[in-house]
Amino acid sequence: MAVAQTDIETLATADKPRGYWSGVGRRFLKDKVAVAAGCVAGGLILMAIFAPWVAPQDPFDGTMIRRLSPIGTEGYPLGADELGRDMLSRLIYGARLSLFMGVTPVLIAFVIGSAIGIAAGYAGGWVNSITMRVLDVFYAFPSVLLAIAISGALGAGILNGLLSLTVVFIPPIARVAESVTTAVRKLEYIEAARASGASAFTIVRAHVLGNVLGPIFVYATSLISVSMILAAGLSFLGLGVSPPNPEWGLMLNTLRNAIYVQPWLAALPGVMIFLTSISFNMLSDGLRSAMDIKQ
């Protein structure tokens, strides 16, 4: 009895016995593919942050003599673009805007969409119906058209581009959040929590969030690549990033005329977009399985 008593005391004083997130971290580290994807994504982010130190040349400095130099040209390891600017430096600098345009709208939409979806799903009934029908209106437009329409109405510029992409991503994220929350809300542990007399806010915080954020987050990360490509589309139409700023989508579009002359060169920004989106997707897959406690 004395021994059991001390056990209780230790448990009471310990802040949290082997927290949930340390378990997630342990399982994530065991997943080699996810760790590799995480390293690539982390590397890309570091590359974007430290671009001035990493890039060998000025990304805006072009000479017509170097125009469309092939990959492997001396001093220009990845060649030069249609205005003779160093491709490697532009790709490195491009990571800044591309990642920013890919990640930021999804992050903002994740916060707003989750809040809307969880609130609607937990409230249920007519609150849920009205909220979801209003969001359904956005589904009437293809996402590209919607982004263009909003961006066009607001005018060109990076901020307006961000805003339009955020608006485009809120409905799908809210819908996923709503369906996951509706499923969780029907479970008996939520009923048990209601029987404890806890307020709706406390129940959502303590019992709902932990069980719904995982799937919503995984879905949101899969939107990062879509966001980058939509941002590229906006740039192409002169609505998002404007030249001469380096951005992968914009570079892909300006190099498209060179595809018959230097196909490998023209494909490079696409390779970067592919690399980024696949590493984010695999990272989110790894996170999802690490967060699945039933493993």
Binding site: A4, D7, I8, E9, T10, L11, A12, T13, P17, R18, Y20, L187, E188, Y189, E191, A192, A193, R194, A195, S196, G197, A198, T202, A206, H207, G210, N211, I293, K294
Partner: protein
């Protein structure tokens, strides 16, 4: 009865089953249910599946709002005279599915400690109490406290659920098929635990089950429900030995017995209960009742006193011509 700890007064709950306006269909899950429970008593609730047992449990605990009627705790109306938050501290519930009723991302210790923190107990104190309660329900807190629901067995989970209900230091616990999903040996252990706890803490149970043997073992009084209505309620011994409603008789006849002389030879009841969307007029049981007569299809019977604290809703007990 004014000394009742918990009482239901004319509880009604209808669920929408589709349709609009005049064509609207409702499932009469619970229709005008009244009863009371004395302090320290165990009231067993039995009936076929779909008869409204679980809906009654959720109405009693205010997890579902009732369409009409009220629940009183110590004579005061829950939700108005007793604030819901306070009511919930006194009246707790244990659910059938031990797994679904625990948050998969919460350790057992946190699950038990959650309730007290809602009611203003600070975190370390709540955890200390949770540890003590886990120990009381027979789980070593050092071993089981940090575990997640999927890491322990069904019987252990149900012990945790009981500990969670106890954490509020409640007066009444509604057990909705709480032992039905457990296998027989574990069920017996949990039943013994429940009996000990009742004695120790002076608890009042409302024990819902379809298992008549278990209900007989644990209950002081038994309530029989059929299609959302109470057909008979009375002291366990009286009701089991001298049932005063044909439906109770049929249920008891269907009860599995180890005595070869009392073996069930043929099904005492034919078919399924009628659709609760459109219950039969008059006595709801008359379509399946072997002893239905004159007034049964036309007039609904009212509960009548047939013994000490023993009520039954059947024309056989009240109408004179039945005797002939």
């Amino acid at each position: 009865m004014s000394d009742a700890i918990l009482s239901a007064h004319n509880l009604v709950k209808h669920f929408n089953a589709g349709g609009w306006g005049a064509a609207r269909k409702v499932v009469r899950a619970v229709d005008d249910v009244s009863f009371d429970v004395a302090p320290g008593e165990t009231l067993g609730v039995v009936g076929e599946s779909g008869c409204g047992k679980s809906t009654t449990a959720r109405l009693l605990t205010h997890l579902l709002p009732s369409d009409r009627g009220e629940v009183r705790f110590r004579g005061r109306v829950a939700g108005t005279e007793v604030p819901l938050k306070e009511f919930r501290r006194h009246v707790q519930m244990v659910f059938q599915d031990s797994y679904a009723s625990l948050n998969p991302r919460m350790t057992m210790l946190d699950a038990v400690a959650f309730g007290p923190t809602v009611h203003g107990v600070d975190q370390p104190e709540a955890r200390r109490r949770a540890g003590a309660l886990l120990e009381r329900v027979g789980l070593d807190p050092a071993r089981f406290g940090p575990r997640y629901p999927h890491e322990i067995s069904g019987g252990q989970r149900q012990r945790v659920n009981i500990a969670r209900a106890l954490a509020f230091d409640p007066d009444v616990i509604v057990l909705d098929e709480a032992v039905s999903a457990l296998d027989k040996s574990v069920e017996a252990q949990v039943l013994n635990l429940l009996t000990e706890l009742r004695r120790e803490r002076g608890l009042t149970y409302i024990f819902i089950s379809h298992d008549l043997n278990v209900v007989r073992h644990i209950s002081d009084r038994v309530m029989v429900m059929y299609l959302g209505e109470v057909v008979e309620i009375g002291p366990t011994a009286d009701l089991y030995t001298a049932p005063r409603h044909p439906y109770t008789e049929a249920l008891l006849a269907a009860m599995p017995s180890l005595d070869p002389d009392r073996r069930t030879m043929e099904a005492p009841l034919q078919g399924d209960p009628p659709n609760p969307i459109d219950p039969p007029p008059g006595c709801r049981f008359h379509t399946r009742c072997a002893r239905a007569f004159g007034p049964c299809p036309g007039t609904a019977p009212v509960p009548a006193l047939v013994g000490r604290r023993h009520l039954a809703s059947c024309h056989l007990n009240t109408v004179k011509e039945a005797a002939e």
